[in-house]
Symmetry: C2
């Protein structure tokens, strides 16, 4: 069994080469530039871990992991256009550094390249891998559309938000694990438990991300705290606060969001605390984490094989924030 | 053997249903709207014809034909964004009727849907079909990028333009035929001849399209004649004129293109005629058509099976315009 860090190094070494032809450079250099910005490569590592849970890592798992990482980068390039984002990991986004048409087309060709990697795997796994990849890819698009829809809506229910987050981010984590498992010869039951592990872990991670944006230690968080609050972003915290706040608190919250006073973050945090949003978020996060770990528990392989996935969960989710 | 018209009716009946889930309607209704605008469905019909050249039409050929048509529509939705086009076949484009983000994401999900159709075919053909589909899809993107690059360039050589047109439009016609042939069990030699037939027919068609835009009968052409000239679009005619014109004609042409006088179309046509561009274009078109027909001739099946493809070539290319 390889540790998370070892798998990251292994994957990064394999992924580092050029994935595209030299010409037309106007199309392929922007693609290569974006891949060079880097990233945590969580999704391909999940695919490798899902594979190694059941068998030694197979060459096909590296191919599918590469396809997954390319797909993920395709969604980032297109999301950056839609969100009008100028920076990604501190570097210029493709549509800013080059132009929107090239970012659009570069994303397209990166997705096609992902399918080229998928088409190199052994024929006996091609149908189920493609099926899961396609379903997951569609769901990620649906999640992005719902996210954009929600930004335009006045009211969003918490269950709708969880559904959106599940589609936008969790299903790709879950699908990555399950694709690895399929390639490792895992049965349907084990595959599904692993999928649910990834899906619930992803939701727990997103709750934590929303929590840390508001309540995190600025030095540890790495981003400016309160960014979501400043942008009136619909997060787990805001949606819950709007659900549980009394009439007075609700009105105050809406006023502050609209007026954008200088102490907006402090005021909103104060309302959040009055409503018990911080404790609620921690409880909810732990609920999803526990569901995830229960599914991992239910996978019928030797316990020691699960160690890297537990290590990963510990790495992603802090139990006591 | 079924006639072209019969195949169109057959395919349209099968293609008419909904290809996407009901929700999120904000993502999938725009996709369905665009498919409803219609189109000549040339590419899927080519896939069916390529299949029927070697065997009775197989269910898999309808699935691949559907994937091809969805892929083609995905490229149109994204091209319309890049070209900032507000109308397509007289109807509002997706980014105008809805918004650019939805057009971007709707195109993405339409491409994924294409791969879902591909993944329904018999496993013994899946690898080669996916390989050809992926290669073709990448080439179409490369062609679109080159087209955009050329619009920004002062000088484009004719061979570069032919290369761009081949990628942007011909390889998908060729690939559609060849995918049908692969599904019909055709050997490599026959597959390649059929591919070359489609590729060269596509180039001949594009030369004719450029020709008709300048010299066509307005009543028969269906579009305003001279549109390319008004936009200074780089076409077969313009690139050739710039290659063969003497210094004086060349200067006159450049002046007219820059100054945009009221009689611009008439002036440019006059220079084209002085340079013999019209006859040259007809000759070049017939050269490509003859290469196409020679490849069709070389396919080792009974001559009568080729009748629908000859009918198609006659329908697409007028020998004496």
């Amino acid at each position: 069994m390889q540790s998370f860090n070892h798998l990251v190094t292994d994957f990064n070494n394999r992924f580092a080469g050029r994935h595209f032809p030299e010409t037309p450079a106007s199309l392929y250099d922007p693609c290569q530039y974006f891949l060079g910005i880097g990233g945590k490569r969580i999704r391909p590592i999940l695919c490798l871990m899902g594979n190694e849970l059941f068998d030694n890592i197979h060459q096909d798992a590296y191919q599918v992991a590469t396809a997954i990482e390319l797909f993920h980068n395709f969604t980032l390039i297109h999301d950056d256009i839609m969100d009008n984002a100028s920076l990604r990991r501190g570097m210029e986004t493709v549509h800013v550094k080059y132009n929107p048409s090239t970012a659009l087309l570069g994303g397209d060709v990166m997705m096609i390249k992902a399918y080229e990697y998928l088409n190199t795997i052994n024929l006996n796994h091609l149908h189920p891998i493609l099926q899961l990849f396609n379903t997951t890819a569609k769901e990620v698009c649906e999640g992005q559309q719902l996210d954009m829809d929600f930004e335009q809506r006045e009211e969003v229910r918490l269950d709708e938000y969880i559904h959106m987050i599940t589609l936008k981010t969790s299903v790709l984590l879950a699908g990555s694990l399950k694709m690895g498992a399929i390639l490792g010869g895992a049965g349907e039951g084990n595959c599904n438990h692993l999928y649910e592990f990834g899906k619930n872990l992803g939701i727990a991670f997103q709750i934590q991300d929303d929590y840390l944006d508001a309540f995190g230690d600025p030095e540890k968080f790495g981003k400016e705290v309160g960014g979501d609050i400043k942008q009136n972003k619909k997060t787990f915290l805001l949606l819950h606060a709007l659900e549980v706040a009394n009439a007075e608190q609700k009105q105050l919250l809406k006023n502050v969001m609209e007026a954008n006073p200088a102490d907006k973050v402090a005021q909103v945090l104060s309302i959040y605390k009055d409503c018990g949003v911080d404790e609620w978020a921690n409880t909810l996060k732990n609920q999803y984490l526990n569901i995830a770990l229960k599914h991992l528990d239910d996978i019928a392989v030797l316990t020691k094989r699960k160690a890297p996935l537990i290590e990963l969960a510990d790495y992603l989710i802090q139990r006591d924030v």
